[in-house]
Symmetry: C2
Subunit: 274 residues, 2 copies
């Protein structure tokens, strides 16, 4: 019980897990459940403004594990790519303002363009964003997404690819985010986690199970799937990551629950299956 | 037009594309559409028996590009794995009897077991099957599946992994099957195709596009998605593969069409987008 209490100090509510709540409700639910960390999503911040968001989080004594998200670099025209970069700069500023040093990057894709072209735009986008982020003390956390998102959400689909992008920069500027849902299938997973030593900026948990009927809302609660989460956590910790662990589950059932019930459920799963 | 006619001589109907037809109807549709190749599925053969299946194909003058499928090695107990191996031996015998030298392997997975354990069973299963297949003149074509199938259909999810398994054996015993739907997202794709020189036993085409609402029936017609099929085909041909190209599309819309309409549609897409 003591060790559970200790372990729960690392739990962070990734706000998308409670998509049904606004930020105020999510903060209240965390406070009530004694969850000390939260990962904020920008569309939730936008609803009430940055200032009010910051106040809510600060007043509740919550720590912000990361801001979701920057990225989405690929776009058809130079004008659109510049627009995306401006949006990323705003995300950096928000992260800094909210007191987190990690901006998660979901790098983007385009179903209208070749994957090679998209990879090039991602590369360029990160290159342009790094100095700005660094000057704000914000690290870019490249999150490789599962390959089933390669046409719509991210052309960066393995930890190896994310590391190859990150290694072009200093470890305090660009790192990677390891989400078990996205990487569990990869036969190179453990060697890439080793390679990522000193660059892991976040660790996200959920679970994978079949059938997948909606790619975005496909995630299951930890324990309801095939992923060996404790093994991946051990590897991530061996690679030096001891920070907050975000519970990030896009799942219709969770979105239909009361917030307090969601928090109770994920806390229970967290201590038993993470 | 002349070159189209020439190119169409390489087109093979993978029978799952016309799941609504029995084998007799599929053979008739091929004959009518002058499609010279067919890839047979075992559940269709079972409906009318091996002898009758062989006769139908032979009488129509069709060539069999491959038999789908062997594999599915992972299982919880030794008894079940032995059963799976027996089934694979029957598949080898059927392939030989039907006049194809390629048995496609969908290697299998298990949502009840760790991916590492499953990988071990796949490795063992292939090892045990190879001598039997070789003695029947049948090559095993390991088909890497998209990582979204890692929990239910195959723990072999990249061409690199398939090649690492295949390279343990002689090139005339074990090779790989390249299906664009499964491999298009892989940043190592072209280097792995190069590595596969002399081991490519099949090339399958369809397309990928979002949204994916059913992982099994997710495939689109060539031209309706993001995959650069001609580029992959060029790489596969450069690596020495000049054999039949299977059109393999699990797609509800195609399954609701008349057989002749399906054949006309995929022929048209084949000449324009493959």
């Amino acid at each position: 019980m003591g060790s559970n209490t200790e372990f729960l100090k690392r739990m962070s509510l990734n706000q998308i897990t409670t998509e049904q709540l606004n930020l105020e409700e999510a903060v209240q639910a965390c406070t009530k459940a004694e969850v000390p960390w939260i990962s904020l999503w920008r569309h939730k911040i936008e609803e009430i403004g940055l200032k009010q968001s910051k106040k809510l989080v600060k007043d509740a004594g919550l720590q912000v594990s990361s801001l979701c998200r920057g990225g989405m670099f690929p776009a058809a025209t130079k004008t659109l790519r510049k627009k995306s970069l401006d949006e990323n700069r705003r995300a950096v500023e928000e992260a800094a303002e909210l007191g987190t040093d990690v901006l998660v990057l979901v790098c983007g894709s385009s179903s209208e363009h070749d994957i090679e072209a998209c990879r090039g735009w991602v590369n360029e986008g990160i290159e342009e964003l790094v100095p700005f982020a660094a000057s704000h003390g914000v690290k870019l956390g490249i999150e490789p997404l599962h390959p089933m998102y390669a046409a719509d959400r991210s052309v960066v689909v393995t930890l190896g690819e994310a590391m190859s992008l990150a290694e072009k920069y200093a470890p305090d500027q660009v790192g990677v985010v390891v989400d078990v849902f996205h990487v569990w299938w990869d036969s190179e997973l453990y060697q890439q986690i080793e390679r990522a030593e000193g660059r892991i900026l976040g660790f996200h948990v959920s679970d994978w199970n079949v059938p997948i009927t909606d790619t975005f809302k496909a995630r299951k609660l930890m324990g309801d799937g095939v992923i060996d989460i404790p093994r991946i956590r051990a590897a991530v910790e061996k690679a030096g990551y001891q920070g907050p662990i975000e519970v990030e589950i896009m799942n219709e059932d969770l979105w239909n629950m009361a917030g307090d019930e969601v928090l109770a459920t994920i806390k229970d799963r967290f201590v038993h299956y993470v």
